[in-house]
């Protein structure tokens, strides 16, 4: 930070100065860190690894007491963004407050009010589940019996009481994940970071983790999670930020994101997948907009203004010799939203659940 440099400057959302690449790392003015500040308030956060810009001038505002999802494909920069906000990586430019504390000048205070559950279970596999939690309770300052009591409360809340005395190496994926999240709650954080909380879990275990996340949020913990599953963001989050190639390309509620893509979407299922390319070209021309097809094959979709227009398009398609097995109109799925935002079907996150 330049000595005495930019600390007094008020940084606004649309301040063009912070949109440039040359900006030095600054700290936010004290006024921003006041009581009314959101849980996370970031402006122009940037992280470079050599020549690669992993995170490119991202602004973020996470209100208190909500679940906020960062949605994006693998390699979009979700984890890097989260690690910066959790003080584990230093931004190359930009500024942020987390729980009212400046990320750069008061990382210790930030650490005091956050917890992070990384993508891979950060547990000691040799120890039992209970010992893992007791170790963390002791590190937080619980003494003697209070540390064991706290561990047992957490194990009970996360349905792990039966496995408490087993070594973590014997746990299933879902149990590890739950213990890992429990380990982040030894002292209840104001803000909990969850990096891909259900990646690699089977649907039943995923439901279990979702239930825990909702339970936590209902008790007042702000949760910032990353996910590559549209369904997960849709199910859990009040607000969703979509990240691609290190940039935030959209943000809003699930409903707003869908609305921004266009109110109506026409979905067409082909009788013969051999006609896919021909149908795609026809449809794009008729709709005057890019058309996407589902990875499963014979289904195409694109934005359409009205039922009358949909009728016209379907008529023209049939007239052109395309056989249609079925069609429907409705609002776009998040996957279609993502496609519309990135314009890149390959980068679209997979649908959750499996």
């Amino acid at each position: 930070m330049p000595p005495g440099g930019l600390t007094g400057r008020v940084i606004r959302a649309n301040d063009t100065a912070i949109m440039t690449d040359t900006i030095a790392v600054t700290s936010l003015p004290a006024g921003v860190a006041s009581a009314g500040a959101p849980a996370v308030f970031a402006r122009g956060l940037t992280k470079r690894f050599g020549a690669v810009t992993a995170i490119d001038r991202v602004d973020l505002e996470v209100p208190h007491g909500t679940i906020f999802a960062i949605l994006g494909p693998n390699g979009a920069g979700k984890t890097t963004l989260m690690r910066m906000l959790a003080t584990l990586a230093r931004p190359d430019a930009g500024a942020a407050t987390v729980m009212g504390h400046d990320l750069l000048t008061a990382p210790g205070e930030v650490r005091g009010c956050i917890a992070m559950t990384g993508q891979f279970a950060s547990l000691d596999e040799d120890l039992t589940g209970r010992e893992n939690l007791v170790l963390l309770a002791r590190l937080w300052g619980f003494r003697g019996r209070a540390a064991w009591a706290r561990a047992d409360d957490l194990l009970a809340a996360f349905d792990l009481a039966d496995a408490a005395r087993r070594q973590v190496r014997t746990y299933s994926g879902g149990m590890r994940r739950r213990l890992d999240i429990a380990a982040s709650l030894v002292v209840t954080p104001g803000l909990l970071f969850l990096d891909e909380p259900t990646t690699g879990l089977d649907p039943k275990a995923r439901q279990g983790v979702w239930r825990m996340i909702r339970g936590l949020a209902s008790s007042g913990v702000t949760i910032l999670l990353t996910t590559q599953y549209l369904e997960e963001a849709d199910q859990l989050a009040a607000r969703i930020a979509v990240i691609d190639h290190g940039r935030k390309i959209a943000e809003g509620t699930s409903r707003e994101l869908k609305a921004a893509t266009g109110s109506g979407f026409l979905h067409v299922t082909l009788a013969d997948t051999g006609q896919l390319e021909a149908a795609r070209g026809q449809l794009a021309r008729l709709l005057g907009a890019p058309v996407q097809h589902s990875p499963e094959g014979g289904a195409l979709s694109g934005p359409v203004a009205s039922a009358v227009e949909a009728n016209r398009v379907l008529g023209a398609l049939t007239a052109a010799g395309i056989e249609i097995a079925g069609f429907s109109m409705g609002s776009p799925s998040l996957e279609e939203v993502f496609f519309a935002l990135t314009g890149n079907a390959e980068a679209a996150p997979e649908e959750g659940g499996r």
Binding site: G118, A121, L139, W140, G141, G215
Partner: protein, 274 residues
């Protein structure tokens, strides 16, 4: 979330969310927490005793009975010379374990959690050191016991052995930093071990642990004379067997002191920078 939050706020979650935050613990308390973890590791992974004790036992038996007669005239005379050296070798080789454990912890993301806690930054390393010291004391005691059975006699008695073990812990502590630094830099635990032994093998064998340096070529004798492993072995022989001078002990302590002064700050820097 809002329209979907059909889950009632259960009592369990209220208990979890409404805990009173305890006062921030002292650095010592943090270090003791990690020390407790090291002790638990001994309880849950008892096979590590096999790792840390078997090779020195083999070395002791092989060298005493195979080379003892050739080197020192008789197996019993040689054991008197060899055993303090084997103790040094054991401690130095076992100092690799902390680095391997650290590399594993980093690889598994465990240190990311520790690092995001508001704790004394060096506490996790203090915990590793506690594990090291315990490992050195346990391994040292077992090797000494086998030595006693085979006929080794520490002429200086219990005070000599106690002083000797203090020196062993000091040298293990110093060398431990090398592998903690390697553990921080290298991602795979097995590479830490391989690199460790690549460095340690020449140091341990080009020393006065196994043979009298007088039989070596002059250039090698020059190295052996200043090798910290030799200096430690000489001091340990003196402390346990008699005839140690203050100068010898001081020379032996130079290496651990220098290693700690240089590598402890480097460790902290590497750790905080990651």
């Amino acid at each position: 979330m809002s329209e979907r939050s059909n889950e009632p706020v259960s009592a369990a979650w209220v208990t979890i969310a409404r805990v009173a935050r305890p006062p921030r613990p002292s650095a010592l308390s943090n270090a003791l927490g990690f020390g407790w973890r090291a002790v638990l590791k001994f309880k849950h992974v008892p096979e590590q005793f096999f790792d840390i004790v078997m090779s020195p036992v083999m070395f002791t038996l092989l060298f005493t009975f195979v080379f003892g007669g050739a080197v020192a005239g008789s197996a019993s005379d040689y054991l008197q010379y060899l055993l303090p050296g084997i103790l040094v070798q054991t401690v130095v080789f076992n100092s690799v374990y902390s680095g391997m454990g650290l590399s594993t912890d980093l690889d598994k993301g465990l240190f990311d959690r520790f690092r995001s806690l508001p704790i004394w930054p060096l506490a996790p390393f203090a915990g590793l050191m506690v594990g090291d010291v315990l490992r050195h004391l346990i391994a040292g005691t077992l090797i000494l016991a086998i030595g006693l059975v085979l006929g080794y006699r520490p002429e200086n008695g219990v005070p000599g052995v106690v002083a000797g073990f203090a020196l062993l812990v000091a040298i293990g502590f110093g060398f431990g930093w090398i592998f903690i630094v390697l553990g921080l830099v290298i991602r795979t635990p097995t590479t830490v071990m391989t690199m460790g032994f690549t460095v340690l093998f020449p140091l341990v064998f080009a020393s006065n642990i196994m043979v009298y340096p007088t039989t070596m070529p002059a250039w090698l004798q020059a190295f052996v004379a200043v090798n910290p492993i030799s200096l430690t072995t000489t001091a340990l022989r003196g402390l346990m067997g008699g005839g140690a001078t203050l100068g010898e002990v001081a020379l032996a302590l130079i290496a651990p002191a220098v290693l700690t002064l240089l590598l402890a700050p480097l460790t902290l820097w590497l750790y905080l920078r990651r």
